[in-house]
Amino acid sequence: MELTLDRLTKHYGRKIAVDCVSARLGPGVYGLLGANGAGKTTLMRMLCAILEPTSGQVFWDGEDTAAMGAAYRTVLGYLPQDFGYYPGYTASEFLAYIAALKGIPRSIAAGRVRQLLRTVGLQGAADRKLRTFSGGMKQRVGIAQALLNDPQILILDEPTAGLDPKERVHLRNLLADYAGDRIVILSTHIVSDVEAIADRVFVMKDGKFILRGTVPELVRQAEGKVWELSVPADRVRAWQEDFTVVNLRHEGDRAVLRLVADSRPDGHAVPCTPTMEDLYLYHFGAEEA
């Protein structure tokens, strides 16, 4: 089982959304990390074969997905970023509708819908109209529909958007459990989600993978670049202008800053153990991120 991205490129006029991206993905959870506009959604849409690349190809087990058509879609589960729903449908009707679109026989679909509603914690709201659902509940319905056909490739665009902390933890556990021998790709700009479940992480910027690796491998790249120091409170603004401040904590009339910098920013600064968030901010800067 292998999903191969071969020099995938997408141009919108003069704008390059995805720039010659290549990778080989086996079973596991992959986190796609990047700021808004980095090209994550465009890349995911090409992986789902709903957007034709300007150049490059996607292969599933060596076969061009563009040529596979419906055969590729049978192994695919997708949650779009702006997941559309039909307000007049109940949750179970909506899932039955998507199941029919996925070609799942009705006899199987009914049980599968019930099971997935339980999985995402919506069994009590199965017969409620979607228009009455909160953002988090709709997102959970979206995740359920992506899982309907038990896909071998699960692509989730910002799956944790709108979820409360408890729901996020539940989803992370669900995906980690689901991954097993499947490929799960999720994009997010919430670093902690990726840090918690991704086996490998791709960091995207300006349509390119600028970093790739496991979380420890990537974090290691930020070693020696994360610092902590105490400064007078009235000097905080000056420090923020000169450095990317990851964290700020006030202690009396002083402030403790955690910042990223290539070299020791001050004689009193002490090196810290880096995290994914530090690495992310190192590359994107506090404002861009």
């Binding site: 049978t74 997708y78 029919a100 996925k102 070609g103 009705r106």
Partner: protein
């Protein structure tokens, strides 16, 4: 089949759909049917300035008019026409409202004006056209010979007085059975002359509102990307969307037809179904009776609506905005109707072939189309062309939507 059922359910689940169907039913069946029969159409007159001031007694008034008309023996001859007009004059002199009703009186005035114009007394001013009140009934002779002469004169004035077109139209007219069977006509006139020709126009408004979001609505709901990644993808979905739209159109039509026919049977009954349509429009040439005309008009509405549904769904696939799709859909039916007023006759007739732009009332007219040297009576083409045009649009809707989804 299952996907079709779910897509169809999705269409009906929308609040807008239900509201449109309810409004359409209320207007066509309740307002143009039930209330028209019982109140402002045939209710007895209480306020001469407005039909809405009528009494709510249409059912009994219709019964009385039908019973009165039945006294004339069921056939329209010179003698029965003379008796009818004479009775009307007698009732008027006695200060009574004729039991035949106001609309039947209007019909007689129309016949008299067309067939006996020399009897019009101009010095009566505005009242000169109300000939039924003053003509000498003994001179009302030669009804059918006069009709034939007026028809031929009319065809000449329309430039249809020579060649195969003349032969076609007069050939049709020869098959009209004379003397005409006569029952009370006003109910059929209201139905075939006013209500049913409006059915397509009214349906168009509501079909546009409901179906313009068929494809464009998927962009609005943000579901397009999701739908494309399903195994059946856009192929099956686009097909079931088109089928659902056509099914909805047929269901709306059925609802209106069942309601309309039920109201017709309750208020008007079946009397006079075999009368020729020439009683409504004297110069019509089609050898059709009222029932055949009613079937034609319902058929025209159904086929036109199906054709229009196809056009609306194509427009829905061409754009991503619900509002724009709706405006284009409305323009597709009302635009040509408005533009036709400023166009030459040939262009007007061509526009009439667009779905629901023409009128089912063409069965009362002598319009023809000349195709490859052959003259074809317009109602045949008005029945066939709109639905074929609409159905031809559906594959393009599917293709356009799918292509657009991938860009």
């Amino acid at each position: 089949m299952e996907l079709f059922a779910l897509e169809h359910k999705k269409l009906w689940r929308r609040t807008g759909t239900r509201l449109c169907v309810a409004l359409c039913f209320v207007y066509m069946v309740i307002f143009c049917g039930v209330l028209n029969y019982q109140w402002f159409g045939f209710g007895s007159e209480a306020d001469a300035t407005s039909a809405f001031g009528n009494y709510f007694d249409g059912w009994s008034q219709i019964r009385a008019s039908q019973a009165r008309a039945a006294r004339y023996g069921g056939v329209l001859t010179d003698e029965t026409f003379q008796r009818m007009v004479a009775d009307l004059q007698r009732d008027d002199a006695a200060g009574l409202e004729s039991e035949l009703g106001r609309s039947e009186r209007t019909l007689f005035n129309g016949w008299l004006g067309q067939l006996y114009p020399e009897m019009e007394e101009q010095d009566r001013g505005l009242y000169s056209i109300l000939m039924a009140y003053y003509v000498d009934t003994s001179q009302l002779t030669g009804f059918y010979a006069r009709r034939q002469a007026v028809l031929e004169e009319f065809l000449h004035s329309q430039g249809q007085g020579v060649g195969p077109e003349w032969e076609l139209l007069l050939g049709m007219n020869e098959r009209v059975e004379e003397p005409f069977r006569y029952q009370w006509t006003s109910g059929w006139q209201l139905l075939l002359g006013d209500a049913l020709p409006d059915m397509g126009t009214v349906m168009a408004l509501f079909l546009a509102i409901v179906l313009s979001s068929t494809f464009a609505g998927e962009w609005h709901s943000g579901a397009a990307a999701l739908l494309l990644t399903t195994e059946r993808g856009w192929h099956s979905l686009a097909l079931v969307k088109v089928l659902s739209g056509l099914a909805f159109t047929a269901e709306l039509f059925t609802l209106l037809t069942v309601g309309g026919v039920a109201a017709q049977l309750i208020w008007l009954g079946t009397a006079g179904w075999d009368m020729p349509i020439q009683l409504i429009k004297l110069l019509a040439v089609a050898p059709m009776n009222m029932l055949q005309a009613e079937i034609y008009e319902y058929g025209y509405a159904l086929l036109g609506a199906l054709g229009y549904a196809g056009v609306v769904m194509l427009l829905s696939a061409l754009v991503k905005s619900n509002v724009l799709a709706l405006l284009l859909s409305l323009a597709a039916v009302y635009g040509p109707a408005i533009a036709a007023q400023y166009l030459p006759m040939g262009a007007q007739k061509a526009l009439d072939l667009l779905p629901l732009v023409g009128s089912s009332a063409d069965i009362f007219r002598t319009n023809t189309f000349r195709i490859f040297g052959h003259y074809i009576w317009s109602p045949y083409l008005l029945l066939a062309v709109p639905v074929l045009l609409g159905l031809a649009c559906t594959p393009f809707a599917v293709l356009r939507w799918s292509r657009r989804m991938r860009t």
